[in-house]
């Protein structure tokens, strides 16, 4: 099977052959080729409907919010342009610093656990066995359980006095914990719940990724005497790279933006130990109506996620340089 194009998830913007010609010369040459032109036109046509929707319903709101981050907009009053005041205010805002730390801590707990557990689950259920349909569905059920009901059940499980988790701990001879009311434990407890809720989603993506790997490769590897471990590292892991990249980016985005259960279970407490950046955005934006300031926080969050994504993109791109 010949593959002329390496499986690089993202090509650098300068993917046409590098040359010493000027930008305009290159441009002219590019558009001079009928094949290039044809393919470019097809490309633009294919993305046109999606881009139309994107511009109207995503891009404009984002740019709008970006503009608002430079104003003192309060939802009810247009406010005025205040330059970078909102961003300056961030630097001295303890609540912001605290939320930034909480978000980082939360992400560090959730993202690695989420990705590794979901990959393990995908490997587990990626086989033909009786009852496998049940297991796959079972692992996906948390994803589809409404966050409101799930939060209520988890609050109950975590309850310090009558919760099931402490009941089990006491039966096993451990000390019961205050979970959601302990500033040191509340965020890990929420992280655990997020992992529970999120692994099914990523498992399904990994499963689809695993299915796209040609079986012949494994057959060839086993003929050559490679063990399971070996074929995982030599075949599965590298070929799964585009999927892993996707899972990582999506996990980063969704973890940094977790809101539902924090709102329902801890309201950011105790002592602000579960106030994440998105929760802070909600508090400033919709409880205090300081939407301009909230937007500034949102764009700091945006740059964090973007940076992480670009770093990951860079690593994946370097690593995945193989040929089938």
């Amino acid at each position: 099977m010949a593959n002329n194009e390496p499986n690089i998830p993202v090509n650098t913007p300068s993917s046409p052959p590098p040359s010493k010609k000027s930008y305009f010369q290159r441009k002219k040459e590019y558009w001079g080729s009928t094949q290039n032109r044809k393919r470019a036109i097809a490309g633009y046509t294919f993305i046109a409907p999606a881009y139309l929707l994107f511009v109207v319903f995503l891009f404009i709101p984002v740019i709008w919010a970006f503009y608002l981050s430079f104003t003192s907009y309060t939802i009810f009053t247009p406010g005025e342009i205040v330059g970078i005041n909102n961003y300056q205010r961030l630097m001295n805002d303890n609540a912001f610093r605290n939320a930034l730390w909480n978000t980082t801590y939360y992400a560090l707990m959730v993202i690695p656990l989420n990705i590794s557990i979901s990959l393990c689950l995908a490997l587990l259920v990626n086989r033909k066995m009786r009852g496998m349909n049940f297991f796959r569905a079972a692992y996906y059920v948390p994803v589809v359980t409404s966050i409101i009901a799930a939060s209520m059940i988890w609050m109950w499980l975590y309850d310090s006095n009558n919760g099931l988790i402490n009941y089990v701990l006491i039966q096993l001879g451990f000390n019961p914990q205050s979970w959601l009311n302990d500033p040191d434990l509340a965020l890990p407890a929420l992280a655990l719940m997020r992992v529970w809720k999120g692994v099914g989603w990523n498992m399904v993506i990994f499963l689809a990724g695993l299915q796209s790997i040609p079986k012949t490769l494994y057959e060839a590897a086993s003929i050559e005497g490679a063990g399971r471990w070996m074929s995982f590292w030599k075949i599965t892991w590298p070929l799964l790279a585009p999927t892993t990249f996707f899972v990582f980016v999506m996990a980063t985005i969704s973890t940094f933006q977790t809101f539902g259960e924090i709102y329902a279970m801890t309201s950011g407490g105790p002592v602000q130990s579960t106030t994440t950046l998105v929760y802070l955005i909600f508090v400033y934006g919709f409880e205090r109506y300081e939407m301009g300031y909230a937007s500034a926080i949102a764009f700091v969050l945006f740059f964090i996620i973007l940076t992480l994504t670009l770093i990951n993109m860079f690593i994946t791109q370097k690593k995945v340089n193989y040929d089938l």
């Binding site: 409907p49 309060t74 939802i75 009810f76 009053t77 209520m152 609050m155 109950w156 309850d159 310090s160 006095n161 009558n162 919760g163 402490n166 006491i170 000390n175 019961p176 205050s178 979970w179 959601l180 009311n181 302990d182 500033p183 709102y263 309201s267 407490g269 105790p270 002592v271 602000q272 508090v283 919709f286 409880e287 205090r288 109506y289």
Partner: protein, 437 residues
């Protein structure tokens, strides 16, 4: 690569057609949207009213009231449409639609939000309407005051949210104690209620919230009972750095430090009330506790009593909270909107919502109604609200931020991150910063 070679161009025409069909279908959905609501004809007025809460009972009760209204005002060409919004998302939906200029003419909200809405010119002062309103004097003045900002009245109250002290008479008897005179004595006798099994509380003296609005509401009542306050009289600066506030924090914190109640609270198991299960001896709660007890632990009802909380350094002051209806300042039909608001506020309707939804009555003439007397606890609670001193949270534009500052600093003191003295100093500083922002 066989599938590839099998491809023929004939199939493609079909595919394209199919896609054209699909895109047309999507467009159609957009276009049919045009045929949405039309505007009403001449001389007809359509009002929109939002009610907070969307439970079945709330919907039924308010639908009936709005139907009555529509019937009565049919001749004047006024129709009201009612919508029900879940409490949890009320703020976001309301502020979004007000920002979009398509907010309801009349909406229900907690009275504490009045100052914020008023500062943004989103709600209409009702003073002029109140002048010609015969029912005005029938309302409990505390609730009207709770929705007033700088002398302007903004709210027609619908539901009171005061807090009183509920307690288990049988547990008090068992422990051989009575409701004491003062808060300090209450703290002293609390030891007698506690029962433990290892580190687990089988019974705690009480349950106290450790964060958010609930913490601010309950703690502020202790602060006021001590004679202290959060803001100065004219709301121009913080007044929380006081001996009274330190005492109130020390009192509150003592329940946790002396292990009279777990920091995680009692009764986290769903909606069952810890008084109903006998897991605590007393709580500071609103009328909603009665319904919780009746739903999940009906047998306990007979043991439960309600009383005014014991005195602080200065006396007893309880929190007066309320929610009610506001008029959108950008409504095109303000006079009609007022007709709707005053209709909801009439005796019959207040009686209807209070009896069917167990809302704490906001009118004095409903306080003695038959349905109130049917439920012993409810009746006693309602009586207390008219007898005991009450105070509402201050209506200042940055109240939500100030409330969070108070709660956060008291919370830090409870968790031992600040001493009570540091907590009030810190709160004072942060509140002043917030006021001067």
């Amino acid at each position: 690569m066989e599938p590839v070679t099998r491809i023929n161009q004939k199939g493609e025409g079909k595919v394209k057609k199919w896609i054209v069909c699909m895109l047309t279908a999507v467009l159609l959905v957009v276009v049919t949207a045009c045929g949405g609501e039309g505007t009403s004809g001449d001389g007809e007025t359509e009002l929109t009213i939002w009610v907070a809460g969307n439970s079945n009972q709330i919907q039924e009760t308010f639908r009936a009231i709005i139907d009555d209204f529509n019937e009565q005002y049919e001749s004047e060409g006024i129709t009201a449409n009612v919508q029900f919004e879940p409490w949890g998302e009320l703020d976001q939906k309301l502020s979004t639609s007000l920002a979009g200029g398509v907010g309801p003419d009349v909406f229900m909200h907690g009275a504490a939000a009045a100052a914020g809405f008023a500062a943004g010119n989103q709600i209409e002062p009702l003073n002029a309407y109140f002048d010609d309103w015969a029912d005005y004097s029938e309302f409990n003045p505390g609730y009207l005051e709770a929705g007033a900002v700088d002398g302007d009245y903004y709210v027609v109250p619908i539901q009171g949210a005061n807090r009183m002290m509920f307690y288990r008479e049988d547990i008090f008897q068992e422990a051989g104690v009575e409701i004491p005179e003062t808060l300090d004595e209450l703290l002293e006798i609390s030891e007698a209620f506690v029962e433990r099994d290892g580190s687990r509380f089988v019974r705690a003296a009480t349950t106290l919230p450790t964060e958010g609005n609930d913490l601010q509401q309950i703690w502020s009542a202790f602060l006021w009972s001590n004679g202290g306050d959060i803001l100065s009289e004219d709301f121009s600066e913080a007044a929380i750095n006081s001996e009274e506030a330190v005492k109130a924090i020390e009192f509150y914190k003592a329940f946790f430090d002396r292990e009279l109640t777990p920091i995680a609270g009692m009764g986290g198991q769903g909606d069952q009330h810890p008084l109903g299960t006998g897991e605590v001896a007393f709580t500071f709660d609103g009328v909603w506790a009665i319904d919780q007890i009746l739903t999940y632990t009906p047998d306990a009802y007979e043991h439960i009593k309600v009383a005014a909380p014991p005195r602080g350094l200065e006396g007893t002051t309880t929190l007066v909270g309320s929610s009610g209806f506001f008029m959108n300042a950008n409504s095109d039909h303000k006079d009609e909107a007022w007709k709707l608001m005053s209709f909801i506020g009439n005796r019959d309707n207040i009686e209807k919502v209070s009896s069917e939804l167990k809302f704490l009555p906001v009118r004095l003439d409903v306080a003695e109604a038959d349905f109130v007397k049917e439920d012993r606890l409810f009746y006693e609670f309602v009586q207390l609200t008219t007898e005991v001193d009450g105070k509402a949270n201050p209506n200042v534009p940055r109240w939500t931020a100030i409330r969070d500052i108070v709660a956060a600093n008291v919370e830090k003191a409870i968790y031992g991150q600040l001493t009570p003295q540091e907590a009030v100093e810190n709160a004072e500083k942060e509140i002043n910063e917030e006021i001067n922002r």
